[in-house]
Subunit: 313 residues, 2 copies
């Protein structure tokens, strides 16, 4: 099945306590597209400026990535600059230059309209809504967002949340959006908006999958020897999550099972862990499905424990 993604394609400059990378390929849609195209065809909707390096387009053309919806405009590509703290779960954004995103409106090409899954990566809620109105036949819609929109576009974001199946949010974003200190209570509030699932991203601590029926799943993470750059880990998580689901045939009801979703979250954690092993999409470029399968095996092994216990053993 094919996946439609709308979001940012950018050039990132990133500093960690140990290294720096300048003007590398970044943006939520870039990470997502590269990750999800390991699994299925990805139909990309985004915009780049006239300064966008051709090599990135050539890389995507070698993969099952459709670029018909990638707008090329006169002007500068979106730029983002950030610096990570010693604890790389935290960072400061140093600069954001919207460039051609300032006037961007997503246009879904006709050939994308049959996309089975839709990922609304982190862009303005009003643009996400424009996409939903053009692509209402997707069987599964997944939404990502960020603090900026929670603070500046709360009402519009709420309207988008009401129209999707699954919301991805970091733990802090759930607290900010719902105004509740308790994550569990915040997630319950989110379900009042009609969501089927909420995935809470916890950085290097993994992810939690909450279902509207009250069940939850705590997915293990792969403890990395060395984190080079966590940028894009959440977007790559989404790429592994939807990428895996795109390979699954939903049941007779047209719905994915909770077991499908659980495997999807594990794939998300796996792809999210790989992306941290290099700057930009460096690790994803060379990642194979054998690498993914091996890390899946390790995650099973490192999270399994005896379901039965009694005193004495």
């Amino acid at each position: 099945m094919s996946i439609l993604v709308v979001g940012s394609v950018a050039l990132d400059t990133v500093e960690t306590p140990f290294a720096r990378a300048e003007e590398t390929l970044g943006g939520a849609a870039s990470y997502f597209t590269t990750a999800a195209s390991l699994y299925s065809q990805v139909n990309l909707v985004a915009v780049v400026g006239s300064d966008f390096p051709q090599e990135h387009l050539e890389f995507w053309r070698k993969r099952p990535v459709n670029l018909a919806g990638l707008q090329m405009c006169e002007g500068r590509t979106f730029r983002w600059m950030a610096r990570y703290h010693m604890d790389m779960n935290a960072r400061d954004t140093l600069d954001t230059q919207l460039g051609v995103y300032a006037g961007f409106h997503p246009v879904i090409p006709d050939e994308y309209r049959s996309s089975d899954l839709l990922f609304l990566a982190n862009i303005q809620p009003e643009l996400q809504m424009e996409v939903l109105e053009q692509a209402h036949t997707a069987r599964l819609t997944v939404l990502d967002t960020m603090e900026l929109w929670i603070v500046t576009a709360h009402a519009q974001l709420t309207e988008v949340i009401k129209r999707v199946d699954i919301l991805l949010m970091s733990e802090e974003e759930v607290r900010q959006y719902t105004g509740r200190a308790s994550l569990v209570s915040g997630v319950r509030h989110l379900f009042d908006l009609g969501l089927k699932y909420v995935v809470v991203k916890q950085g290097s601590y993994g992810a939690l999958l909450f279902s509207a029926d009250g069940s939850f799943f705590s997915a293990p993470t792969y403890p990395l020897e060395e984190v080079i750059d966590p940028t894009g880990a959440g977007d790559a998580f989404a790429g592994g999550f939807l990428g895996y689901l795109s390979t699954v045939k939903p049941g007779a009801s047209g719905q994915y099972s909770v077991e499908d979703l659980r495997r999807g979250v594990v794939h998300g954690n796996i792809i999210g862990s790989f992306v941290c092993e290099d700057f930009s999409i460096g690790r994803l470029r060379v990642l194979t499905m054998d690498d993914v399968a091996e890390r899946y095996r390790v995650l099973v092994e490192c999270s399994h424990f005896d379901p039965h216990w009694h005193f004495g053993g």
Copy 2:
């Protein structure tokens, strides 16, 4: 099997963003003793002042807790005061009054010498070493510590680490002690000191068990609806961990298996989650083994995922 614990018994005043509790029973050894005595006999070594409320002693006397090693001295009981941030994974210590702990030296009563397991709760490393020299027949020795000793008594702490089997440390403490940004690399450095296992506590995110043979285990946590007070969660974790192990008969080699340790870490997470549901030992007072078994069942259910996957299911 019986467990010997040495550590602090205190009176705590704790403020959270939502409530405050004054002069309640606190201290690492209090949490540990109350938790571990759900499983086995606990032999307590600590000191309290002449102002220590008798009701706490009466509570422990109703449990399998031996108080022969609890010194009663003229003077004030150890006091600790702290305030939690909105994110209750972080807190500030507002005041510490050592009181009778200022001149404390642990003395192990003869009747404690046959204790099978030894827990060195968080006190000065030189006192922990005094205990190790008096109780060298324990089949398993487990060490806890804190930032203060990492900073002010690094060399003495290292000597203690070299003499125990298992070290419990928070993620930040591993980074501080080893000076390495990578947790995995820091843990490897700890194994150079001769440890068999390292348990990395991650607050509300659970715990990781690393083995000297290179394997690791990521234990799920129970997502609480409401955290009332996280004080003592690490000590209660240790109580559940050693408490569970105290019920297990080690193999022919006299060693616990990795599976035993994994179940122990899950018990630790369970007891650690319960303690957060009330101030002080409030929740542990009324906790039953049925409550523990039910939460164990939930943790199995919420962390299990299909060990096999293939495209399409």
